[in-house]
Symmetry: C2
Subunit: 376 residues, 2 copies
């Protein structure tokens, strides 16, 4: 059976029922976010009056400094705003394919990353999170680049400072491009050490993809930021220019406001919500034998392991669909070895607590039902 | 010399001076557009309350029916909303490359189209506008698809109904994919015959790219729509899912409002502005020997031919830069034969009349200066 794309399943969840499928933030606005959104028309007027470059740099600075990235190349001509982080990833996929035939990629990770790389005819080598942690991973000679998602989706795993230093030094020595997808980092302070300082100092060719789209329930008014190093010899400006002229200055003004609000307590509030939702999910579902994997993860998705009696994640997924509850089976995250994910599901946590409780109840109920039927 | 990408030059224009470079609409809002923008926060609230699919279909219907496209596949599952038309073009480039090694493409056209196709390793064959008009063009056997931009940029040329019928029938008979980029059609009623009816009836595999981004000065709050036929065997849903989950429902609500306003007089007002700006540009610049090419074009850019004494478009471009006036030299539009564009410049018309007058004065002045210097 062909594993359907994660986004295809997520899209079905948007149409119907209880959606804890996609990782996009869908919780209610906080009071201060509500006040910001009320100013959207003013931001539109402001966008008409101020130079785009100034608006864009404000957004870069507010967002990146707010998550500890002081050495990001703001205003240095090597930082662009894309419609989304996926567009940024695709730009990188194109430029990598002009340079190498293969990429070493973290395993597991969200499937659109391997799919976008493969669509550019890049061959992929899986590197486990543990390999990144335990000394320098063995990277195949063919792989001209290393692509690591940190914090990773769906595990929440974070590449530590020493591991990054080691990896970046190795990339510098061996002439490989280091690509970091840090789209979830604003949710986890452990990923907010200044990675730009480390990779700049390393001498490596590097690229970083940042994202504002996982944080605030803004109905896809968001941006992906794409930064690269002085030494990075990839034709990123050309690939960018083929796809867009500029992001929307209205969206960038919105991001500036949201980033300031987030640094001023919003990130803490988000972390509390995600933490509470993760605990609720774990507590309710473990009554039916589901296991919250990576309980120390801070990102806005959780992974649950299935009890033996519950069959595969795909079975459970389809059973839940009958109750109009949408989760994600994890097969496709394990892009090189789908069996590693076939007894795991992912639940999105960027939701109102009541939605998480309802989803957890449904999950526990359906799992118990499946297990009871199998025992009979 | 390598011709710089048109978007690269446009980007420089955004930073400084008088920008008649990019074709994005940068005129003042009309009173009714101003009233719509004032409701942005309400649209945000509405996006939270209504199902996405309903919001999206409203936008598709309002926009496409407003420009005569009643047979577009609204609500049929073969019409998606992308962040922009360029993203839609790139999705098509990817899926075409999975099917064929070469594409027949209209010549000239905006350079990001050939560049996005080439970035997918597709070989390109140029087909002139005249060839599309005079009977069935001779299309090379290797080309698995025909890509035509209508109205075309920068010429404003429109593929007529009979020519489309002939082309679609030929594609159906010969198993080629017909790709239509109709991003400028809302500006030209001559391109608003129901093309979907024709291509559906033809039996061909077809794809159409529509765009809301050339019409209203919305600071890049826009969408590209991508539609395809029942018989079209391209993996468009997969390529779409790799890039995005959904467009922003806030933007789609904005498009619905703008499209209704446009059908209710807004398109006529836009046509008046563009027509007036084209006349102003032609009248002022002809005093220095510049010639308004394609005076019957209705789209929001104009092409000017240079007098012999003025040298090349690139020379004129650089001279104008010194006065902080940004136009586009046309070399890159003529992607297969840049020399055809080297004595032409493109001027954007989606601007306030005073800006066009200032740009025209500068153009006339600089051209006269160059010619006088050469005569000495």
């Amino acid at each position: 059976m062909i594993t359907p794309k994660l986004t295809t399943l997520e899209n079905q969840a948007i149409a119907h029922g209880l959606n804890v499928s996609d990782g996009h933030p869908r919780m209610p606005l906080t009071p201060s976010q509500r006040a910001i959104v009320a100013d959207l028309s003013d931001m539109f007027e402001e966008a008409a009056k101020r130079p785009f470059q100034e608006i864009e740099q404000d957004a870069h600075r507010a967002f990146l400094h707010g998550i500890g990235q002081y050495a990001a190349p703001v205003g240095e001509g090597r930082l662009v705003s894309c419609y989304s982080s996926s567009i940024a990833i695709d730009i990188i996929a194109r430029t990598l394919a002009e340079r190498t035939a293969a990429v070493a990629l973290v395993h597991p990770t969200f499937d659109n990353i391997p799919d976008l790389l493969r669509a550019r005819n890049l061959r992929l080598f899986p590197i486990s999170e543990r390999e990144f942690e335990q000394g320098q991973p063995e990277l195949p000679a063919e792989a001209g680049a290393v692509f690591v998602t940190t914090p990773n989706n769906p595990t929440g795993w974070v590449l530590g400072r020493e591991s990054l230093e080691r990896l970046a030094a190795w990339c510098a020595t061996h002439g490989r491009v280091l690509v970091m997808d840090t789209c979830f980092r604003a949710q986890d302070a452990r990923a907010q050490y200044d990675t730009y300082q480390i990779i700049r100092d390393s001498g490596a060719e590097w690229v970083v993809i940042e994202d504002t789209g996982k944080l605030w329930p803004m109905h896809e008014l968001k941006a992906g930021f794409l930064a690269w190093g002085e030494r990075t010899r990839l034709a990123i400006p050309d690939a960018f220019d083929d796809l867009l002229l500029t992001a929307s200055p209205v969206v960038l003004l919105l991001i500036t406001r949201l980033a300031r609000d987030a640094a001023d307590g919003g990130y803490a509030e988000l972390a509390r919500l995600i933490g509470e939702n993760r605990r609720t999910l774990g507590e309710i579902t473990r009554l039916s034998g589901l296991v919250l994997e990576e309980p120390d993860s801070r990102i806005s998705v959780a992974m649950l392991g299935l009890p033996d009696c519950a069959g595969t994640a795909t079975d459970l997924y389809h059973q839940l669909l009958e109750d109009n509850v949408h989760v994600l089976p994890c097969d496709a995250f394990y892009w090189a070895r789908a069996t590693d994910g076939e007894r795991r599901i992912r639940v999105a946590l960027g939701r109102a607590p009541a939605e998480i409780r309802a989803a957890a109840d449904a999950l526990a109920g359906v799992t118990a039902r499946i297990c009871a039927a199998r025992r009979r």
